[in-house]
């Protein structure tokens, strides 16, 4: 099996299981799919062979906008239904197919959902930012100099920068 050039949403569970994560840890990661993944340590050669996935690949995966969108939809779907069934449904982008050897069936979906963060959707109305430039300067002032943030206002600019 060669290293995949792009990882599809439906392959994620399989890859995470290949990394040695247990079902609950996998579900936590699936819930954090719209989050940044930072991997420390290194894979053993056996683990690396099993998943054919490098740490760099995982980092890239977390930054893939198309995958991000699909995974976020999947996470929201699971969170809304409070059920992990969506992970096993075949179909559009929001589905994921577990590998046969992954013992996900033994996992209690309700156990992990209680500790999950609120979805982006649920929080969307709580804070409305009218001026991102000023907002970041006022709230993040001690962490970055004002000049860096100055003029950082455009949604398109952020999208372009994320592509780089």
């Amino acid at each position: 099996m060669s290293t995949p050039s792009a990882i599809q949403a439906q392959d994620l569970v399989q890859y995470l299981a290949g990394l040695g994560l247990n079902p609950q840890q996998i579900s936590q990661v699936v819930y954090g799919l719209y989050r940044e993944l930072r991997v420390s340590g290194s894979l053993t050669p056996a683990a690396d062979n099993m998943v054919h996935l490098s740490v760099e690949k995982i980092k890239q995966m977390a930054k893939d906008p198309a995958l991000e969108e699909a995974l976020q939809a999947l996470a929201l779907s699971v969170q809304k239904s409070k059920n992990l069934d969506a992970l096993f449904q075949k179909g559009p982008k929001t589905s994921a197919t577990p590998a046969a050897h992954i013992p996900l069936a033994s996992h209690n979906p309700y156990e992990s959902t209680s500790t999950l963060p609120e979805s982006a959707e649920a929080q969307q109305e709580n804070v409305v930012i009218h001026n991102l430039d000023s907002f970041l300067r006022m709230t993040l002032g001690g962490y970055v100099d004002g000049e860096t943030i100055k003029g950082f206002v455009s949604e398109q600019e952020i999208l372009n920068a994320q592509k780089d």
Binding site: N126, V127, V128, M138, T148
Partner: protein, 102 residues
């Protein structure tokens, strides 16, 4: 520029946020918000920034108009009095009002 801002947000999150750590057999995965989603600040990060900012507001800042609360909406104003953000989170409003006794 985006990298620097994301780095600052990451540090901020480590200081004030809820870092999630997933330990695998050979790999440790730290999960933090993706700070910009579809070109916008992650609402989760925005809430944390607002909460920390408001925790530093003093009563005299209210009289200066840095923060205005009216009709269940909290407005954060810049030094020119322009509204940069509006907060409607009941939890944030409740904590803010309780701390300042308003």
């Amino acid at each position: 520029m985006l990298k620097k801002i994301e780095g600052a947000l990451s540090k901020f999150w480590m200081d004030y946020g809820r870092a999630i750590q997933v330990k695998g057999a050979h790999t440790e995965v730290l999960i933090e918000p993706k700070f910009f989603i579809s070109g916008q600040l992650n609402p989760e990060a925005a809430e944390l920034l607002v909460s920390v900012y408001l925790s530093q507001i003093k009563p005299e800042d209210l009289s200066r108009g840095k923060v205005v609360v009216e009709k269940g909406v909290l407005k954060i104003n810049d030094k020119y009095g322009q509204c940069v953000a509006e907060v409607t989170s009941p939890r944030i409003l409740r904590e803010f009002a309780s701390r300042l006794g308003i």
